[in-house]
Symmetry: C2
């Protein structure tokens, strides 16, 4: 195997020199100029998300993200979007558990405009009462939309169980009750408290002039004093396996089989990434071949990770008509037992590494994807480059994968089912007998 050589070749495709600048106020600017690009992608990453909310402020990060689009001293709401859309760009934002990101993608010649609009929103928004009220209604509609998406609902059930009692366990969007209760004053003071230059990273990729970008961000330098972000409590470690069924009158059930995983800085992520690829990464993966290709029981089955700064979740997800759920869960359990007992073959290991390597190059083909990784990593303090990540995967051996399989998959999972009635007892029995089946000799805790 010549993994290292391939990795070097792959790393060469990931090129573009990264430049970093920290302004006096603590704001960090990180950019990468992609040769040949005609476009400019920029993101303003703020270190605040639902994790940083107390219970009575649940949903405030996302609410605030919405109201910052509602108009500034210089621009009405429709002028914010028109400024970017009339040059063919897009501007949007999202809120996650650990950060909020406002971003725009434009032709390279409109880079300054994009930055000026985003700075204006983050510093000059009016947050008028009537805008807060209109946006409250929009968010209640968004919550209803979210409730109609079974994959979102299953993911919320998993978070609620694995991070029970911790802010990571709450949906980012808030609840109808918390959204109805939030006041304009609470949203404004949340903004003042969390949107500090020292909690902000601006990342850009594409055709980027780093020095010019730093100049365009000077208005932020004058906004406020450095401020140290408070640490939030670590999430609970206690895992409560079991089965939770949320009845919905759909045709299919959406099922998430969830195990505690690892945080972003934990090196066990590398073998877990390889394991997830072998089990559920694409159409040649073990689960896809066994459940769909050989038996035709489902249209979609895959494995993946959710990763936070100090915690993670490893899930296997599938959809099927209700009478097949227990058969599929049983097949999943058999496949996990197999990998815990015998690990992966050398051939699978090589294929998974090749897959992770090529996927990384293809995924970071677009400046927007590169910007997103650059900003997210910088904000979380993760200094690894894409080449470092590839080297991490390449260093994984078969024993690492088997060890992480034993560690993660031999614990009984929490199984969330959203959909019509299933054979719940059978699912519970599969979970109860998990350790005995998957890792005989280990004691079920």
């Amino acid at each position: 195997m010549t993994d290292t050589t391939h990795t070097r070749a792959a790393a060469a495709h990931l090129g573009g020199a990264v430049r970093r600048t920290e302004l006096g106020c603590g704001l960090r600017v990180v950019t990468e100029d992609v040769p040949g690009s005609h476009t400019f992608s920029v993101g303003f990453f703020v270190r605040v998300g639902s994790r940083h909310e107390t219970e009575h402020l649940h949903g405030a990060s996302h609410f605030l993200e919405h109201v910052l689009f509602k108009g500034t001293r210089r621009r009405a709401a429709e002028e914010i979007s028109a400024a970017i859309e009339q040059v063919g760009g897009d501007i949007n934002a999202y809120t996650a558990r650990e950060h909020t990101c406002f971003y725009a993608r434009v032709l390279a010649e409109d880079a300054e405009l994009a930055c000026e609009v985003l700075v204006d929103m983050l510093t000059g928004s009016l947050v008028r009462s009537e805008d807060v009220e209109a946006e409250r209604e929009v968010i209640l509609e968004e919550i209803a939309m979210h409730a109609d998406e079974p994959a979102e609902v299953a993911s919320d059930l998993v978070a609620a169980r694995l991070f029970d009692g911790h802010p990571l366990g709450r949906p980012v969007i808030g609840s109808p009750g918390s959204i109805r209760a939030l006041t304009r004053d609470q949203v404004v003071s949340f903004w003042r408290r969390h949107y500090r230059p020292s909690s902000l990273v601006v990342a850009a990729s594409g055709r980027v002039d780093h020095d010019a970008l730093v100049e365009w961000l000077r208005p932020l330098d004058e906004v406020s004093q450095p401020h140290r972000a408070r640490r939030t409590a670590a999430p609970p470690r206690a895992h409560r396996p079991g089965v939770s069924v949320l009845r919905r009158p759909t045709e299919q059930c959406t099922v998430s089989v969830a195990f505690p995983g690892f945080g972003v800085f934990d090196d066990r992520r590398y073998p877990l990434g390889v394991l997830g690829t072998v089990l559920g990464g694409g159409m040649s993966s073990r689960l896809f071949v066994e459940v769909r290709e050989r038996r035709g029981l489902t249209y979609a089955i895959d494995a993946g990770e959710l990763t936070y700064s100090d915690a993670g979740v490893f899930t296997i997800e599938f959809q099927s008509t209700p009478d097949r759920v227990d058969q599929i869960l049983s097949l999943v359990r058999d496949q996990l037992a197999e990998v815990v007992a015998h690990g992966v073959t050398d051939d699978e290991l090589a294929r998974a590494k090749g897959q992770l390597r090529g996927q990384t190059v293809l995924a970071y083909e677009s400046p927007a994807a590169r910007m997103s990784r650059l900003g997210g990593s910088e904000l979380s303090g993760d200094t690894r480059t894409l080449a470092d990540l590839l080297a991490g995967y390449d260093a994984v051996d078969g024993e690492d994968v088997r060890a992480v399989a034993r560690e993660v998959l031999a614990e009984p999972p929490f199984v969330a089912v959203v959909g019509p009635a299933v054979q719940r007892r059978r699912l519970e029995r599969l979970v109860q007998g998990w350790v005995q089946h998957v890792h005989p000799g280990k004691e079920q805790s």
Copy 2:
């Protein structure tokens, strides 16, 4: 305004010389080498889709697309996907109403491999009985999944009404009954009949060696004799406005307001594209500003087109809780009346053109998107380049937009609602009074 200059600058970003070759068998190869790209995207476009199916073969194109992944004389199903996935690429396919596309995206050094695997699938598949049976179950699961997606269901309702009695009116995926009834022999003879070199276009973008690609495709040159594709009947022109409500126990209603539009070769597409952008293209559009920004009645509202070779549909789509549907439809009707009466402002016209221009450049940043357009256009006989499209939009004036608004929007729409109970009578009254409200003086047909 300096539209033309901007368009030339935009067109320069769309570069890459296109090369075409037609093999003796009628297969067309069309490629574009993108300078600086490290990746290779290739698609095999076959001129067959649900439109080419008789009623008792409903769903055959899509069924066939699935079974061609199930193994060839050289490779088992999992070896097909593994060949591409182990180098980090992806391989997949989709079936539409007028064509089927098999595609792969890989690092440039794996281009030959990707083509060899796709040629093998299209010519050397075994289509074994047991694979047909397993895949029949997968497609029944896919139909169930589809039925759980309100936007898909609404789109099917619209097609069924606007193309009533014509194959364009049927869902691509088939029905549970038609899928259960299809036999292996029917699927195989469908394959033999429709997968002819003269009905096939191979398109590639990224880092592409055109001459090498043509060589890799030689095996297809020997497969069969040229064959002239049969024309299918034109879809019906009679429009039946009205309201159709499909009850689903969801939180929100998904609503599609549909008008007959234009086929891909109809030059009225240019002013209709500008009109759609002004009405529902993004956050600065009239509908977004009126319905969401000012009143907070929805999370999402937009306008768009579905375009076939000789027909099209123009839709306005939104989601909201059920008690807001009639209020939103009334606001939509007011907005359409306004644009029919007064057209768009010069400022809006300039903004929409800028938006279409920049969006085109940004959308075709990725080789996969370029390949997709290249192959689809070649297959349908559309020889316009992206620069031609931009020039078409730039030539639109305010009177063109107003004329097309009068033509398309002053007819009463067909309104499809999927979700919980709504004030159906009120919706029907809004549709009944459409012409009188939107275009007084015109007679409702």
